[in-house]
Amino acid sequence: MAVDRFPIEAGHVIMFARSIGEVNDIYYNEDYAKGAEPGAILAPPTFVQASAQFDSDYFLRPKIGQEWFGSAKGPTGITPSEPSGGDTKKSSGGGGLHAEQRYVYHKPIKVGDVLSAITKPGASWEKEGRRGGNLMFTESVTEYRDQNGDLVVTATSVGVRTERPATVKE
């Protein structure tokens, strides 16, 4: 994945902050933020995840004019008879689960910054799980840089594919 342009926009930060139940003025109020230590509205610590909105190929967003694997009238919008249609078994779980996420912060991200991101594959390994059967882990490392080329956040993501759904706790 590469995101060429990830503008940090005030409205987007507000939507994100609301979704995690934040009431902190540092994400909402420009006047407050100017008087606080950071000096500008900040992006919350996990906000870079929303760079997906600016990734033209992001696979967990419906593409205009294409079939979507989530439900429509039936449980999946993918037409099985069509050769171009996806493999519904493969889409189970929608691309696996998120096992681990790590951030290293080099510089606070502020509204008005324009980031770019480059993702590189990391390690991959397998493990026998208790509930989900054989577990296949894959790591990726994304470097986010600002408009000056300065590294602002390094994000390491570990995804896991399970043989069968991880069952719920009783």
Partner: protein, 140 residues
């Protein structure tokens, strides 16, 4: 207000309830803001019949975001230097989550006072859903 090195010691803890009776709508809010529209997080029909889970469940990153709210309320805005977690259990609608930070070390690095913390978020039954660590720059 940023945390001051003089006001904390190893072993100190800070806890916060970061969501109460998690709604499906809040999960949808997170999908919309983050851009992760995976149906397993909002589409009950897909989840039951295709993915094979009993219910939609929260994005791991929503739980991490909720946990991060506790951290920034504790240590101050723009002070985190590192934050990493493992997602140890799925979070389903109706969950009430409590996030806790425990100071494990206070050290100096390149002239800054840094606090290292263990981070843990548990649901209403005490099941740990997120486990990790964080570090933050303190006032001295």
């Amino acid at each position: 207000m940023p945390l001051n090195a003089k006001d904390i010691k190893v072993g100190d803890t800070y806890s916060e309830q970061v969501c109460k009776n998690l709604s499906r709508t809040q999960i949808v809010q997170y999908a919309g803001a983050s851009g992760d529209y995976n149906p397993v997080h909002h589409d009950q029909l897909y989840v039951e019949e295709i993915a094979g889970y009993p219910s939609v469940f929260a994005h791991g990153m929503l739980t991490m975001g909720l946990t991060g709210k506790m951290l920034t309320n504790y240590i101050g805005d723009g002070r985190l230097t590192a934050f990493g977690v493992r997602f140890t259990a799925q979070v389903f609608p109706g969950a009430t989550l409590t996030a806790t930070a425990t100071i494990t070390d206070i050290r100096e690095e390149e002239g800054n006072q840094i606090a290292d913390m263990d981070v843990s978020t548990v649901d209403e039954e005490g099941v740990e859903v997120v486990k990790g660590t964080a570090s933050a720059r303190l006032d001295a």
